[in-house]
């Protein structure tokens, strides 16, 4: 993204949590920021890349992004790194030793938990990392706090030479609220000072750092007890007092405006005395925390009587609607009316885009028999859905490789004739798939890999990556050659094919041939995501109704521009009755990829001829 003039200090801006954090990172004088895209964290780095005087990068994965930030912090510069919750699983190897060396320049790690799974493969609670790695955790409750806590986190990070985790959730990252912003404080890097006893974590050195970490735990707990980020909101209704953090605080205040509340902003290490102070004010204490009973368990272990997940859900987002009945039951009061039930309406799952190059891949996979398909994480995970149903597993970034290998080596009798296919996108391959492919080659797997190179991190909004030759600023960058990369990992040259996924017969033949070869094959599809500037629209198509026979073959492609106009039934010569679906193409959104006309037997799909000069929605400027 191009740099823009940042809003002046004292402006009152309507910012998402992500935008607020980015602003504070910049104001804190941070010099290096790195991330791999991941919902709901992505926008933090996107926005940072628009600020001047800060180096921002898309890293190939979260572990590398954290290591980049660590390097900058060792060099005495303030650094920032952000990721979605599962990203920290990848980065945690670095985190668990970083806690022993500590930092020189302040380091803030923002982790975005997708509570409610709007776009993730699991729901996990990143506050655990604070306990596991012995580092402090801050939890903002809205955009203004996300901004203020980021600035405070840098101060704490440098005071204790420790990285600080900013735990966010979707309901912070993507909620907009008003934020008053300040000035940027420029900071030079202090420079790297060699100190092997601190920075070279061999057993002897690391062993001497561990007691320092435990000592720091105690000091951080004292700091949490004193911190203005942890405060009690007075209340007149003393039947129940709440201990809460993050977005749950807002829900508690909304639902129980008269109740005393301990708001934890600096929630790890947990300030036990502050919790006791709240407990002394009220008849009973309820801990309201999203996902795991972390605060609750620690308080119970300390002998502080609280109620928590006995009455509140372990999964999903909390809201006033969840809290009110739970507390009413606890108090033995009548439970408020259940809100009206939603009408039964068809589901509307996310779809692949009109003309998406993945449509050709999944149409092909759905037509080849006898496959077990190990999938991965990206837009192409939608291939598991209708109409293709051509993905059988999806676990974690890059897992398609190892899981395919394991499915091959661990075949049961029933799948001895099955062909194993792995499907992975370009960015996911570079993130964590390359190592899996190397493992497959090294261990002589019988797997066909489909590497879907659409030159973007599509699912998160088309971010650049080493596969498309552009950096975060849109500037030219060295572009990885996937065919050469696979060859370098040991895939035989004759087993590597680059195919245009819009040419269905070629793709079909290549897949069918390669799955029969008992070796590692890689089929690279090479057409860009339709939402990035590399994509060029072509003349749209339309269906000639008089020619359409209602066979419905085009619907199997799965393009959302194809609509059924009427249905019917036909009795075949064999006596078998088949369903017919006559179709039309929404020509105003069709970009002329030509996939649907390939399975169309009667040539009913032809170029669109406009009858009136309606201006079509075009971005790429196609001639119609």
């Amino acid at each position: 993204m191009a740099a823009v003039m940042p809003a002046p200090a004292a402006s009152r801006l309507f910012l998402s949590g992500n935008e607020a954090v980015a602003r504070a990172v910049w104001e804190a004088g941070t010099r290096v920021a790195a991330a791999y895209p991941g919902t709901p964290a992505t926008e933090m780095l996107e926005v940072l890349s628009t600020y001047p005087d800060i180096y921002a990068e898309w890293s190939v994965n979260e572990k590398v992004s954290l290591e980049v930030a660590i390097g900058a912090a060792y060099a005495g510069s303030r650094a920032f790194c952000c990721m979605k919750h599962v990203g920290m699983n990848v980065a945690s190897d670095a985190l668990m030793t970083l806690t022993l060396t500590g930092v020189v320049g302040g380091l803030v790690i923002a982790i975005a938990d997708d509570v409610g799974l709007s776009s993730s493969q699991n729901e996990q609670d990143s506050r655990f990392w604070g306990r596991f790695a012995h580092v402090p955790v801050f939890e903002p409750a809205d955009s203004q706090e996300a901004y203020a806590m980021t600035l405070a986190a840098y101060e704490l990070s440098e005071q204790f030479q420790v990285p600080v985790i900013l735990r966010m959730t979707t309901r912070i990252n993507h909620v907009k609220g008003l934020v008053v912003v300040g000035e940027r404080a420029s900071r030079a890097g202090a420079g790297f000072k060699k100190d092997p006893a601190r920075f070279v974590m061999v057993p002897g050195n690391a062993g001497r750092r561990i007691p320092l970490m435990f000592k720091r735990d105690g000091e951080l707990r004292s700091a949490a007890e004193q911190s203005p980020l942890n405060y009690i909101v007075a209340g007149s209704d003393r039947r129940v007092g709440f201990i809460t953090s993050g977005p749950a605080f807002e829900h508690v205040r909304e639902a129980f405006p008269e109740a005393p509340v301990l708001k934890l902003g600096f929630s790890c290490p947990l300030p036990f005395d502050k919790c006791r102070e709240l407990a002394a004010l009220v008849e009973q204490v309820v801990v309201v925390e999203e996902v795991e009973p972390l605060v609750e368990t620690e308080l119970k272990a300390r002998g502080i009587a609280v109620v928590g997940k006995e009455i509140l859900p372990l999964q999903g987002e909390l809201s006033p609607n969840v809290l009110k009945p739970a507390i009413a039951r606890l108090l033995g009061e009548p439970v408020p009316d259940i809100p009206p039930a939603p009408a039964k309406v068809f589901p509307r799952p996310p779809t692949m885009c009109v003309a998406c190059p993945h449509l050709g891949v999944y149409y092909t996979l759905s037509q080849v028999r006898n496959l077990n398909i190990s999938g991965d994480i990206g837009c192409y995970t939608l291939g598991a859905g209708h109409p293709w149903q051509a993905m059988d597993t999806c676990v974690s970034m890059g897992a398609s490789m190892g899981i395919a290998l394991g499915m091959d080596k661990g075949r049961g009798e029933s799948d001895k004739d099955k062909r194993i296919v792995a499907v992975i996108g370009d960015s996911t391959f570079l993130h964590m798939g390359m190592q899996g492919l190397l493992d497959m080659v090294y261990n002589k797997a019988n797997v066909t890999v489909l590497l879907l190179d659409n030159r973007a991190v599509g699912m998160t909004g088309g971010q650049d990556n080493p596969g498309n030759g552009r950096d975060i600023y849109g500037e030219d960058a060295p572009r990885v050659d996937f065919a050469k990369l696979c060859a370098a990992l040991g895939v035989k040259q004759e087993r590597i094919h680059t195919v245009n996924p819009y040419e269905l017969p070629v793709l079909f033949k290549t897949v069918r041939d390669e799955v029969k070869v008992p070796d590692v094959s890689v089929i690279i599809t090479d057409q860009p995501c339709v939402l990035i500037k590399d994509y060029h629209k072509l003349k749209p198509y339309e269906v000639h109704d008089d020619k359409c026979t209602g066979c419905g073959n085009c619907l199997d492609v799965g393009c959302p521009a194809i609509h059924v106009t009427r249905r019917g039934k036909q009795t075949k010569a064999s006596g078998r009755e088949v369903d017919l679906a006559f179709v039309r193409i929404e020509s105003s959104v069709c970009t002329g990829c030509g996939l649907c006309l390939q399975p169309c037997a009667p040539d009913a799909i032809q170029h669109y001829v406009p009858v009136s000069p309606i201006k079509l929605m075009t971005k790429g400027g196609c001639a119609v």
């Binding site: 709007s118 609220g177 939603p342 309406v345 509307r348 885009c353 109409p387 201006k615």
Partner: protein, 202 residues
């Protein structure tokens, strides 16, 4: 919490639901309100259900509107209006673009599109005004004006004057020239008129 206004805007990814809510928020903030805006959006960029919550007033706590507490529902698609009807408080109104976007799961015959979503909303006891924002936009010569038509549609159902919202809409197009400002002004007024005409006809 009667001092907090709850506006629910719903539709499908790619329709401009979030932008419309953003402009509504700008208008509320310009009038001195505190505001929070939050979305529930599916995982892909396009095609999934999107609901955008806007709450404003002297001080907003939770960003989410609870079921049964929305003061007005602005729906960019007919079936989506039906899907979210239950979010309205009793007596509140739904404003719905009655053009239909049929998803692939319906085209494949796996699910049925409701025969008449607007009638179903009425049958459930909710006051609904339906209009064809898509056709209005196309008549003005540009389907992208649909967003402004939708904002015009809600303009007389807000706790502040329609002109305050119009000013926010037009400010967005100021740098793009007088012609586009004028087109959007017409789209806004067409949306307003469509709702008042449909309401008086009903």
């Amino acid at each position: 919490m009667s001092t907090t206004s709850n506006i629910l805007v719903v539709g499908i990814g790619g329709q401009g639901v979030m932008t419309a809510t953003e402009i509504l928020a700008e208008a509320a903030i310009a009038l001195g309100h505190d505001a929070k805006k939050t979305e529930v959006a599916g995982m892909a960029q396009r095609g999934g259900v999107v609901s955008s919550h806007l709450r404003f007033g002297p001080k907003v706590q939770s960003p989410q509107i609870a079921p049964g507490e929305a003061d007005v529902l602005l729906a960019f698609e007919a079936a989506e209006a039906l899907r979210w009807r239950h979010m309205l408080r009793p007596g509140a109104i739904a404003l719905a673009n009655n053009s239909r976007l049929v998803p692939p799961v319906v085209e494949l015959g796996l699910f049925d599109y409701p025969e008449d979503p607007i009638a179903a909303i009425r049958a459930a006891g909710t006051d609904v005004v339906a209009f064809d924002a898509t056709s209005i936009a196309l008549e003005l010569g540009e389907i992208r004006l649909g967003n402004t038509v939708m904002l015009g549609a809600i303009a007389d159902h807000l706790p502040f004057p329609a002109d305050d919202l119009l000013a926010c809409v037009l400010r967005r197009f100021q740098r793009k020239g007088e012609k586009l400002v004028e087109l959007n002004r017409r789209a806004f007024e067409a949306g307003r008129a469509a709702v008042s005409d449909a309401a008086s006809a009903a």
